[in-house]
């Protein structure tokens, strides 16, 4: 066997309480294309960050000797990111100057223009992109093409390992086929590719080897020929736990509706728990924000708010960092606690104390700053903030991150209880188990609802099957 391009051995990465990678070993040989699959939170992105040198694992080894971004580049490791990383205010040539530090100091424009053009011509024949164009003027697909072309090009040493993270998500079928054909040519010439995609067809047709990740570990690592669509979906899910929905179909009036530009329309009935599932970042949070925006007060305070929101991204739209736990908890219910616009301190303290007990927030004093709490307890405060309002609809944006299992059970019980009393919950979660608590689940892919599962139909297998397109961009 030839020398491997890169080797990682028994690496572990932890972010606080969350284990993102747990004893992962992987050897990447020249001439192979590894298809990396796994559902959201399985650890794919973390593994990629380790491979491109952006993240140093707490234990284990990457390559030989110290590893970092500079070392990764000198080994010929290139990465095309899911989030586009080009500077929109610069031309394609100027972006190449940033990406390729080994361009000559003088006359770099000519060289950069040549290598980007050559690479674009090789991968996407007939692309029609002028390398002098400003990136901001390009379409999303064109930007993605430029980014891919840049990763495959080099002024000096050619790349040896190219990591493609969802490279076809903004390309149409023709361009995607061109890219995959180029990947095959590239590995035939001795290069290595890691391909991450949620379109299983691409993985099965392009990869030589498939690595399946689940819960921060590699659970399967076999030649691609050994897999079928079905066995791949099965490998990604947990076969042990099958999910069961709690209740029969709920009938009644709609509490909420929204028609999305593509796919199925969304609606939620009174007293229903509606789950939003699918891979992360496929439009679930965006739809929750749109629902909130459509119903939240903008100019005048609402006597009874129509919706309330539990943030998953605490730093971004959850906590008020300068405030006490108490003020954070009552922030959404202030109109209920006030008379003539003035807050009644006793009413506020009573409400906060009630929720402190009900949701078990671990603090000696509610006057302590919110940041004195652990992440899980901060999250509980956000739950209390939303549930303490009289809003009939609660929107939840993956709110259980970093919450310990005991608290989760407690919160699940409260949610079920509130739903039985007629409250509607719209619940985006990346945890499969939580979808099992929902009455109905919408599966999202590429910004649209692609499947609706009711009651008994809700299962991890069904959700995964719908999240990963069975055929190349058929349903989307």
């Amino acid at each position: 066997m030839q020398d491997p391009v890169l080797q990682v051995h028994d690496i572990a990465v932890r972010f606080g309480e969350v284990t993102a990678l747990d004893g992962v070993s992987l050897t990447i040989a020249p001439g192979e294309c590894i298809g990396l699959v796994g559902h959201n939170g399985a650890g794919k992105s973390t593994l990629i960050s380790v491979l491109n040198g952006g993240l140093t694992p707490q234990t284990g080894s990457v390559g030989d000797g110290p590893y970092g971004i500079a070392r990764a580049r000198s080994l010929g490791v290139r990465c095309v990111f899911q989030e586009l990383s080009l500077c929109p205010n610069l031309s394609i040539t100027e972006n190449a100057r940033i990406a390729h530090r080994d361009l000559p100091a003088f006359g770099w424009r000519g060289t950069a223009r040549r290598i980007v053009s050559d690479s674009l011509d090789a991968i996407f024949p007939g692309h029609g992109i002028d390398p002098r164009a400003q990136v901001g003027e390009l379409s999303i697909a064109q930007r993605q093409m430029v980014e891919i072309a840049m990763a495959f090009s080099s002024p000096t040493a050619p790349p040896r390992l190219v990591i493609l993270d969802e490279p076809t998500s903004s390309l149409d079928a023709g361009l995607a086929a061109q890219l995959l054909a180029h990947v095959k040519r590239f590995i035939a010439q001795g290069g290595a590719v890691i391909l991450v995609s949620h379109i299983l067809d691409e993985i099965l047709s392009t990869a030589t080897r498939i690595v399946v990740m689940k819960d921060a570990r590699i659970v399967a690592d076999r030649p691609a020929a050994d897999f079928t669509q079905g066995s791949l979906v099965q490998a990604m899910g947990s076969s042990a736990k099958e999910l069961t929905a709690r209740r029969a179909q709920i009938t009644g009036d709609d509490a909420l509706r929204l028609t999305l530009p593509h796919g199925l329309p969304f609606h939620a009935r009174k007293g229903e728990i509606v789950g939003l599932s699918g891979l992360g970042g496929h439009g679930q949070t965006r739809m929750l924000l749109a629902l909130h925006e459509a119903h939240a007060p903008q100019w005048w305070p609402a006597a009874t708010p129509a919706v309330t929101f539990v943030a998953g991204d605490r730093r971004l739209n959850g906590t008020f960092d300068l405030w006490s736990i108490l003020k954070n908890m009552t922030a959404a219910a202030l109109p209920d606690l006030a008379r003539h616009g003035l807050i009644r301190p006793t009413a506020e303290a009573t409400q906060a104390a009630t929720w402190k007990d009900r949701i078990a927030i671990r603090t000696p004093d509610l006057q302590n700053p919110i940041l004195s709490l652990s992440g899980g307890n901060q999250q509980k405060v956000l739950f209390a903030r939303a549930l303490a309002t009289r809003a009939p609809v609660v929107l939840m944006d993956d709110p259980m991150r970093g919450v310990d299992i005991g608290t989760k059970q407690e919160v699940y019980r409260i949610i079920r209880d509130e739903a039985d009393h007629g409250r509607t919950f719209v619940w985006y979660s990346t945890e499969m188990e939580e979808m099992g608590l929902c009455d109905r689940v919408y599966v999202f892919r590429e910004g649209a609802i692609v499947a609706e599962l009711v009651g008994e139909e809700i299962s991890e297998h069904a959700i995964l099957a719908a999240s990963f397109a069975e055929s190349n961009r058929g349903a989307a």
């Binding site: 739209n317 405030w323 616009g341 003035l342």
Partner: protein
């Protein structure tokens, strides 16, 4: 030392020290007059400072630069309307409030509808307001009604009347900031606008109300100042642009928003007047006076922010 943990404590400490330093040189001769003058001039700074404080509390980028022009326009229009007639005092006051509300609405319209950053929106608005003031003033100096002139220049129980007005406004502002739903929502927006929106705060309504409040207080200050100084002048608001921001900062409110206090504005307003008086008393030249003013302000802010860094 615990008192120094209050964010406003440093401004009062600084004001007190400067007062003592001044009295010490004059051997206590002018202490009464100095205190009275300090309270009077601090009152104008406090009025504009409170409005600016609410705006700054809204968070990064929020500032109202139209304060001086609003003061000038309110003073000019009100005095012109009253034309020295005693019966016109109430209409004059109403005109003042009208100017404030109109400027506040116009400011937020620019910020919201045209998506202009507040610093640019209020600055360009101030040019428009100033032009209207110049156009309506035409260089004529109209005297205020006698009752208003004497009210603003006299004292009740040795406290200047304008200081009493500012004190009443301060108490109302304190209640608004610390006890009302509105004040809580202003502080929420200042800490995190997305979080405030997700917590159901009517963000646009609260921001609009705040810009209107700031402009209204500026108009009131302009009205009182023009009555106090016997007529409106086109440059009467000039020094209050920096003053309104300085008293907020020296008073211990967070420049980044979300955490403000009313008492500090008084400490800072008194300090800003007394520091100039002290340096005058010590007979420094104008150039040195300005340099020392700047250095002392920097020192006070450093001390006050050092306190914050030490907090857990």
């Amino acid at each position: 030392m615990k008192a120094l943990n209050r964010p406003w404590a440093w401004s009062f400490l600084a004001a007190g020290l400067v007062w003592l330093a001044t009295i010490w040189v004059t051997k206590g001769a002018a202490s009464g007059g100095l205190t009275e003058a300090a309270l009077t001039f601090a009152a104008f700074s406090v009025l504009v400072g409170i409005g600016q404080m609410f705006v700054i509390t809204l968070g990064p980028g929020n500032i109202d630069l139209s304060v001086p022009a609003t003061m000038t326009l309110a003073g000019t229009l009100a005095l012109k309307l009253m034309d020295g007639a005693e019966g016109m005092v109430i209409p004059g006051l109403l005109a003042t409030l009208g100017v404030g509300i109109a400027v506040g609405l116009a400011n937020y319209a620019l910020i919201k509808a045209l998506r202009i950053p507040p610093i640019i929106a209020t600055l360009s608005m101030s040019f428009i307001i100033q032009s209207i003031a110049i156009w309506s003033n035409r260089g004529i100096r109209i005297k205020p009604p006698e009752s208003l002139a004497s009210f603003t220049t006299s004292s009740t129980l040795t406290v200047p009347n304008v200081a009493l007005v500012a004190l009443a406004v301060s108490i109302a502002a304190w209640v608004l900031l610390n006890r009302s739903v509105y004040g809580r929502q202003v502080a929420a927006i200042g800490q995190s606008l997305p979080a405030a929106r997700m917590a159901g705060v009517p963000v646009d309504g609260v921001r609009l109300a705040t810009y209107v409040l700031c402009a209204t207080l500026a108009a009131l200050a302009g009205f009182l100042l023009s009555c106090f100084s016997g007529g409106a002048a086109l440059n009467m608001g000039n020094e209050y642009l920096l003053m309104s921001i300085a008293v907020v900062v020296i008073g211990g409110s967070a420049v980044a928003g979300g955490d403000s206090n009313v008492p500090g504005i008084w400490g800072a307003g008194l300090f800003m007047f007394l520091i100039v008086s002290m340096l005058n008393t010590y007979q420094f030249q104008a150039g040195y006076r300005l340099i020392l003013t700047g250095l002392i302000i920097i020192a006070v802010i450093l001390l006050a922010s050092g306190r914050k860094g030490g907090r857990p």
